[in-house]
């Protein structure tokens, strides 16, 4: 079963990597409508490093999930790599997530039953890589983030910083165009946080589009652009 990736995951080179227009997201809460994102207009070009900042509850994570096609907008348009995401079905969107986007979460989100190698292999499995191919690639990635010695360890046997490295290696498994990181250093001490950030910035330098949600001013300093959100609206870019 070889997946037909043509057309679906192919991003147009000339267009910005993502464009949002009048994008809204709201939740129905007991007859009251809770607007989490209001009229978001955002354009990000390939290779940019964007920091998303804002107070707690302002909608940063929601926006990032929207960018990563995990969530669907209530209204408005979203083009990812020249594709109108609202026209794609669940299969195609899943495919895009797997092939073009790498997620790094605040709480690492590794699968507890799987060891380091197996965790890194998961995204490749869903793209239909062969077992040998993906095991080899996973080993390379683990070595790259400095975990060459801990391939057989379970997440519970790793420190927070090490777990986040596994998560980064996993995010890179399918060589995505965009890395989305939601407070990647939020659960780490400053030292390992700095190391994680170094790895992420290194990826940006290698040409990946990097979008980081953060509360940390230091992180934002490195970013090419800061998007600030207040109460669901982008205040300044």
């Amino acid at each position: 079963m070889i997946r037909d990736n043509s057309g679906v995951v192919e991003f147009k080179a000339d267009a910005p990597i993502l464009v949002m227009e009048r994008l809204c997201k709201s939740y129905e809460l007991s007859s009251m409508e809770l607007k989490v994102l209001r009229d978001i207009a955002l354009t990000i070009n390939e290779g940019e490093y964007v920091a998303i900042m804002g107070p707690s509850g302002s909608g940063k994570s929601t926006l990032l999930n929207m960018i990563g096609c995990l969530d669907r907008p209530t209204s408005g348009d979203y083009w990812l790599g020249g594709q109108n995401v609202s026209l794609l079905d669940d299969n195609q969107v899943s495919l895009i997530r797997g092939a073009r986007i790498g997620f790094v979460f605040q709480s690492f989100n590794l699968i507890g039953q799987l060891n380091v190698i197996e965790n890194i292999e998961v995204p490749m499995y869903y793209q239909g890589c062969s077992e040998r191919e993906s095991a080899e690639h996973a080993r390379e990635l683990a070595t790259m983030v400095g975990l060459g010695e801990r391939l057989e360890h379970r997440p519970s046997e790793l420190s927070g910083g090490q777990q986040q490295r596994v998560a980064i290696a996993r995010a890179l498994a399918n060589d995505p165009l965009i890395i989305l990181a939601d407070e990647p250093t939020g659960n780490l001490d400053s030292e390992s946080g700095a190391e994680i950030l170094k790895i992420l910035v290194g990826l940006h330098k290698k040409g990946k589009t990097l979008i980081v949600v953060t509360h940390d001013e230091h992180i934002a300093e490195d970013a090419g652009r800061i998007v600030e959100i207040f109460d669901g609206r982008i205040r300044c870019q």
Partner: protein
């Protein structure tokens, strides 16, 4: 490529089942019992039908057996003629069958007498069968040595006999029986041949209670000795002494104990039976005969088999249903336990159908595991039934395959809903799940 994925999906499933070994085994109990009942049911059914088939082969599917039975006690008759009772099939009956029913190919009249046979100083109880040379046509006996009765023996009322292998073993032990003389009652008979036993298993002794009678008259016999019908008539006569507790002794006169007829084809068996019965009805007002059609025994066997199938089939159905629901329950628990994992997998590119496949294959593995254990247990049940219940059972390859297929089907049926629940969870909500 697809095989790769299948293999890895299976691996994933085995891994997560292995993590909950006890839970997995307990969950499969229903399936185990269901599958074992399916196998037991099929094995018992198969055994029963095979046994019936064998019985028919032994009695002959184209045979109709007419037996003499003592008529119900008639006060007037017994008052009239106290010392002599006369009943049963006659040589004339055999003649009438032969002459008036065209379908009949062979008519074999025979006499059956419980007797003692002597050789040197050894004595065994036997059944003496006085019959005709074409007796082997209606019986499964096979010639092992020498010859069977011939027309010359009949004609000259020779003192010859044919013994079966059981008699040979008990009476002659290590000696070669051929040409030896056996003493039965007052006369000697020279052994002219040896045949295979007729197999007087319980099944062969159809409705009549001959075995009990034989036992009452001096223990079960070890086998049969065949003597020309004419010789038997000449030497034993037709009158026998019956001893009963109340009225002392009575004399009985019975010409033939049995007439077996064979028709050309199986379809002719039942019509011929009807003709025989009308014919017999005309000449036997006393109701002193019984007609046995081996072909009809098959019907009885099927009936028994059906009852077994219904009982075991319902046990199987209930166990499988309960087992399936149990599995669904566990899978639903597993799905909600692993909500976060599902969210993670979705974020990493798993499509809905990947999630369906993952949980479905886990359920399938669980039920197939139950299926395999059930096949193990289910194969033991028929063995025990055969051992303790003395009932033939046969486990066929098809029944094992069927049982395996059923467990797979249960897996798919009861696994689909949990798998779809898992696949339709919102990725964001699952990621937030604690």
């Amino acid at each position: 490529m697809f095989l790769f994925r299948l293999k890895r999906t299976a691996k994933l499933g085995i891994k997560s089942l292995w993590m909950h070994k006890l839970r997995s085994t307990l969950t499969t109990l229903g399936i185990i019992f269901g599958v074992s009942s399916v196998i037991a049911m099929l094995a018992i059914g198969e055994g029963a039908s095979q046994a019936a088939q064998e019985q028919i082969a032994r009695l002959g599917s184209r045979n109709i057996i007419i037996k003499t039975i003592p008529p119900p006690e008639d006060k007037e008759v017994s008052g009239q003629n106290q010392s002599m009772r006369e009943y049963g099939l006659t040589y004339l009956d055999a003649e009438r069958f032969r002459n008036s029913i065209r379908n009949i190919e062979v008519v074999v009249p025979s006499r059956r007498l419980p007797q003692q046979a002597w050789y040197r100083n050894r004595k065994v109880a036997v059944e003496v069968i006085g019959t005709v040379p074409w007796y082997p046509e209606i019986s499964p006996i096979q010639l092992r040595a020498g010859r069977f009765l011939g027309s010359i023996d009949m004609h000259h009322r020779q003192g010859v006999c044919i013994v079966d292998e059981n008699v040979m073993k008990e009476l002659f032990v290590f000696d070669d029986p051929m040409g030896q003389d056996v003493k039965i009652a007052q006369d000697y008979y020279r052994v002219a041949g040896v045949v295979s036993p007729e197999d007087l298993g319980a099944a062969a002794q159809t409705p009549g209670n001959d075995t009990e009678k034989a036992k009452a008259q001096g223990g079960a016999n070890v086998g049969c000795i065949y003597i020309p019908l004419t010789t038997v008539r000449n030497r034993f006569g037709e009158i026998s002494m019956q001893y009963s507790g109340v009225s002392g002794r009575t004399m009985e006169r019975v010409e033939l104990q049995e007439i077996t007829v064979k028709v050309g084809a199986m379809e002719e068996v039942l019509p011929t039976r009807d003709m025989l019965e009308t014919l017999l009805d005309r000449f036997h007002k006393k109701n002193d005969y019984q007609v046995i059609v081996p072909l009809e025994l098959l019907k009885q066997a099927r009936q028994t088999q059906r009852i077994f199938s219904i009982v075991l089939g319902s046990i199987a159905a209930i166990s499988l249903l309960v087992g399936g629901i149990g599995i669904m329950n566990i899978m639903l628990a597993t799905v909600s336990e692993r909500t976060r994992e599902i969210g993670i997998r979705r974020a990493l590119g798993a499509r809905r159908r990947d999630i369906v496949l993952q949980f479905l294959s886990e359920t399938l593995l669980l039920t197939l595991l139950g299926g395999i254990l059930g096949i193990g247990l289910g194969s033991l049940v028929p063995i025990m039934v055969t051992h303790f219940g003395r009932m033939p059972t046969i486990i066929t390859g098809t029944s094992l395959l069927l049982a395996f297929g059923i467990s797979g089907a249960v897996g798919v049926i009861f696994g689909l809903y949990p798998a779809y629940r898992a696949a339709n969870m919102d990725p964001i909500e699952s990621l937030r799940h604690e």
